[in-house]
């Protein structure tokens, strides 16, 4: 009798441990604690409506800005970065010269001290792009050509590597987008501009990342199941405008993301999205409070 009771007790204890372990193991990423304020990587996917603008505060207090939305967003982005306490951009990246990515960039070059500028080796002929180049010239700055395989940042705990474009497509600027993978200790982030699947599939390096900026505002041109499994993101961020005319993000892409069970954030519904990393764990905050359950 005693032996039976002992056996039941130890079985119950084992079950309790197993259940606790199960729940702890399944806790969503964003419930983990993030350690002290210093040495945090903060990635701000700024809500610029239809377009991209990602402001990154690096743990050593340097900054990166990837794209600057449309021309009308130059002031919003300036105010946002200034409100975070910065007057300098160490690494300014124009993924490709479409208006929804470089429109606001001339304002940024005027308003901030700029250290380095990266662009892919491709041009367009719009006045918007020409104005950006002229503003860069007026400020006595130069442009580094973004070449795949090169590092924008290469230090012990932080790396930012250019994975694409592998080849330039002069007739399709999206496919010449600069693709950057940022790594901070154990955490990784992939920024794809408007790169379409043709360009993404040509990338030979590892594209796995915890956080994916979903390409081309969630267009079907830039996301499929294969690419998602290559990246394997636990968090996916879409930057697009509310009720935009292009149907972004496309239904098919939303289905891929939902089936993949990645946490989905989108600027048209969440406003500005901030991703924090302490090198081990990742936490996400949104400007617009989410409902009591995620979609």
């Amino acid at each position: 009798m005693n032996n039976t009771i002992k056996k039941i007790k130890s079985s119950l204890i084992l079950i309790l441990i197993a259940v606790t372990a199960f729940f702890v193991g399944c806790a969503p990423f964003h419930f983990y604690q993030i350690s002290e304020e210093e040495n945090l990587l903060k990635i701000h996917f700024i809500d610029v409506g239809q377009g991209d603008s990602t402001f990154i505060e690096l743990p050593d207090s340097t900054t990166m800005l990837i794209d600057a939305g449309e021309k009308s967003c130059g002031d919003i982005i300036t105010e946002y970065i200034a409100s975070q306490g910065y007057n300098k951009i160490d690494y300014l990246i124009a993924t490709h010269p479409h208006s929804d990515h470089i429109g606001g960039m001339a304002k940024i070059v005027e308003n901030f001290e700029i250290e380095k500028i990266y662009m892919p080796d491709v041009d367009t002929d719009t006045r918007t792009y020409e104005t950006l180049l002229e503003t860069i010239a007026d400020n006595n700055l130069k442009i580094k050509t973004a070449k795949f395989g090169n590092y924008v940042i290469d230090s012990t705990d932080i790396k930012a590597k250019i994975l694409a474009p592998v080849t330039i497509d002069e007739d399709n600027l999206n496919n010449s987008s600069v693709v950057i993978k940022l790594e901070y200790e154990d955490t990784s982030f992939l920024f794809t501009g408007d790169a379409e699947l043709e360009e993404l599939e040509a990338i030979t390096e590892e594209v796995y990342a915890d956080v994916l900026k979903v390409g081309h505002h969630g267009s079907v041109t830039s996301t499929n199941e294969d690419f998602l499994s290559r990246v394997n993101p636990s968090i996916s961020v879409i930057s697009c405008g509310k009720n935009n005319e292009y149907g972004h993000p496309h239904k098919e892409v939303m289905k891929y993301l939902k089936d993949y069970e990645t946490d989905i954030y989108r600027t048209d519904e969440d406003g500005t999205i901030i991703v924090f990393s302490d090198g081990k764990n990742i936490v996400v905050e949104t400007e617009i409070e989410r409902g009591s359950y995620f979609e």
């Binding site: 041009d123 719009t126 104005t131 010239a137 442009i143 399709n172 005319e245």
Partner: protein
């Protein structure tokens, strides 16, 4: 008569830059089939045509500007 520069095509919408540097959207089916990003187009009598010479002039000027900024 109005001149525009094609910024890009999203699905079936062409995004054109006006001479004032603003942007308008039109159905991409209205443009000639072989219109490329960066082409200057003329809107006249309800039709769009590609202005190759002007496109090439702009391309050259911008290429030179970009080259002068290379590091």
């Amino acid at each position: 008569m109005n001149k525009y520069i094609l910024d890009r095509i999203e699905s079936n919408i062409a995004i054109l830059e006006t001479e004032k540097g603003e942007f308008i959207n039109i159905s991409s089916s209205l443009l000639p089939d072989n219109t490329n990003e960066g082409d200057v187009v003329l809107f006249d009598n309800g039709e769009y045509t590609i202005l190759s010479d002007e496109t090439n002039k702009r391309k050259k000027r911008i290429k030179n500007l970009r080259n002068s900024l290379r590091e």
